[in-house]
Amino acid sequence: MPKGYLCIVLHAHLPFVRHPECPDFLEEDWFYEAVTETYIPLLLVMSRLEKEGVDFRLTMSITPPLANMLSDSLLMQRYSKYLENLETLTEKEMKRSDKVPGIKPAVKMYKKRFRDCRKILNKYGGKLIKAFRYFQDRGSLEIITCTATHGFLPLMPEKKDRRAQVRAAVADYREKFGRAPRGIWLAECGYTGGVDDLLAENGIRYFFTDTHGILYGRPRPKYAVYAPVYCPSGIAVFARDVESSMQVWSAECGYPGDHRYREFYRDIGHDLPEYYIKAHLHRDGVRRNVGIKHHRITGKVPLNKKDFYDPAAASEAADQHAGHFLFCRTAQCEHLKSSLGKTPVIVSPYDAELYGHWWFEGPEFIYRLFKRLSEQSIIKSVTPSEYLKKHPGLQILEPSPSSWGDKGYNEVWLNASNDWIYRHLHHAAKKMIFHAEKNQKASGLRERALNQMARELLLAESSDWAFIMTTGTMVPYAHKRTKLHLRNFIELEKMIERNKIDENYLKTCEERNNIFPHIDFRIYI
């Protein structure tokens, strides 16, 4: 009997960014970088664990926009090109490393990394989503879904609008993973009363909230956040553990700040002379990160005083940190078990992109952690479904409306920088519901137009745009995307009202914003 359960959740999400109209679109790089640094490395870690016979349990939410991007042929083709660029650049770096021996170990590591990426890409025929599905079918990975376009439910007053976000997600999950999702990651952990009923309607068994979602629940939680609870609707809720979150998340005292780890802000895209690097930048020639970095954090020194990166030392650090993490969990669980009189479950959710993209050694840390977990029996890794199967009896309470954003509520997505979007989003949602009900029997072109309206509305509702407007970087793009989808929606709606559909216009929209290829607008009824 273990003294505690550990439930690691990686929330993998990117907004749907796909621009077929432009061959060299800057924001698409978010996706390519995340594939190279996070998604493929995580797959590599899982196959390494599988090969070594390590029994592990990992939970991942792959949001529908990300799942759609990972199975989109255009984006994956472009990714292959992106990788090719890095491969040729690494060859050049190999030659350069003869003159600059300090970078040699790092260059070798990059060469191997990119070769592995290529291997995985070829193995699954460019459809990375299949690779994740493979590990889910094996039982070590549990993939959960998310609101359809990462829509933030607490700021959608229309119940049918919220419901469509859940329905579209569930339908898409079935299509991608061949079964119904057991759990959901509510975008930004945004919970408000009534959301659990929608989940129950759609066959979902559990979701996650931030710590105070349960801590402030009514009545009080008997075991604080160390045991899941049921909403009155019978949906289970798991809440975030603060301590384990901070060990990884915190910028000052978290693991990713160790001096042996790779420095994110020194990139050869900025460091090397123009004649050398220009061919590998975007067409506009502006210097940006290319993803090859040769320095380590070193300490609190200016960027130009950083030492060279040593991959071996960095993975040793990852191993030490995995050891420390497990030690802390052991102590935590032993203590909790004696004071609670119950085996606690520690829920540690993180943004997946933190592992690999921001914290380069993150995937290695995961590997070492699971390896160490398999060598002891005090702490056991668990997936939420597995836990619920073993412990079906839970306290019933009403969670408190909350999110995991700054300050814990809705302010990140509702402030002076982005509050203007809601009157438009809500108007569009009302119109969508109205037309869906009125046109239930629509077919042919009319049905296609209604389906596209649903896609445009869902895309406009991505919480990412409001989030970007708050954070203040790439703001024009967020404005553009919000308005673009709303404009498309309004135009299509006009066509439906006049019963005169411009097929060219519709086709352009369908080709560009092709998320959810099999969507049915009747999810809004």
Binding site: A224, Y226, V242, S339
Partner: protein, 252 residues
């Protein structure tokens, strides 16, 4: 003749030709791509006129008395390239409907937006109701007259339900125009509600909060953890007089 052919022949930009065509009222509903002969004649004449005008203004600028530096400045200003930032297409500012929607922002504030198309006969007022057991408990008014169409409202009690109405005041009477949705404001503290085992739970909770690291403010870089800690501490520090503990005394 096609517009781009004409532009090549006259060495005038396509956009300039289109602008002139617009000015002469040749464009009706759709953008024009080809021009008739009479239209071309008119356009040619217009271009000549404009060239003359330009020459005259240029002469005026070079008249003695004008300092040359100011001319130069004007020129450099005009030639400065404007950086185009794509903020997306235009969307309607209004939908010619009547709506009033409120949304929760945090335990102490809500956001309201509205649109009114009808005529009103007095200053506009936003009336916010707090509900108890789905009945109005009390309300307060906020003066929102003018050109604004949204407002952040401070609300006194976390964890309650709120709704609002919009109307105008005439001779001290409130005339309702619109009614909003009902929302739940998040709670900001541990619930008072508990069963017979309440005390044990409380003791446990205090310990668990300590163990979970929620109280170690110095270590938390997470804003959320800090907020949680602060709020929790406020509640736990409160003596028997306020908040959760009063319930305990009554029970005893």
């Amino acid at each position: 003749m096609r517009v781009y052919l004409l532009s090549e022949r006259l060495k005038v930009k396509v956009t300039d030709i289109l602008r002139i065509a617009d000015k002469l009222g040749m464009r009706k509903k759709y953008a024009i791509s080809s021009l008739t002969d009479t239209q071309i004649k008119k356009i040619k004449a217009e271009i000549k006129k404009q060239k003359k005008l330009k020459k005259n203004t240029a002469k005026n600028l070079h008249r003695p008395g004008h300092s040359s530096s100011s001319v130069k400045k004007k020129k450099t200003k005009a030639s400065k390239k404007k950086v185009f930032i794509d903020m997306g297409p235009a969307i309607p500012a209004k939908y010619n409907g009547e709506t009033l929607v409120i949304m929760p922002r945090d335990p102490s504030s809500i956001f309201a937006y509205w649109e009114i198309s009808r005529k009103i006969f007095g200053p506009l007022v936003l009336r916010v109701y707090e509900l108890e057991k789905s009945a109005d408990k009390y309300y307060f008014d906020i003066d929102v007259d003018g050109l604004i169409n949204n407002w952040y409202v401070k609300v006194p009690h976390p964890g309650r339900k709120y709704r609002s109405e919009m109307g105008y005041m005439t001779n001290g009477f409130f005339t309702r125009i619109l009614s909003s949705n009902i929302i739940d404001i998040p709670r900001a503290s541990v619930s008072d509600e508990a069963d017979e085992n309440w005390m044990v739970v409380k003791e446990d909770l205090r310990e668990i909060i300590k163990e979970s690291g929620l109280d170690r403010e110095s270590r938390s870089s997470l804003r959320q953890a800090q907020t949680n800690t602060r709020i929790l501490f406020e509640i736990l520090k409160k003596g028997p007089a306020g908040g959760s503990s009063s319930l305990l005394i009554k029970k005893k």
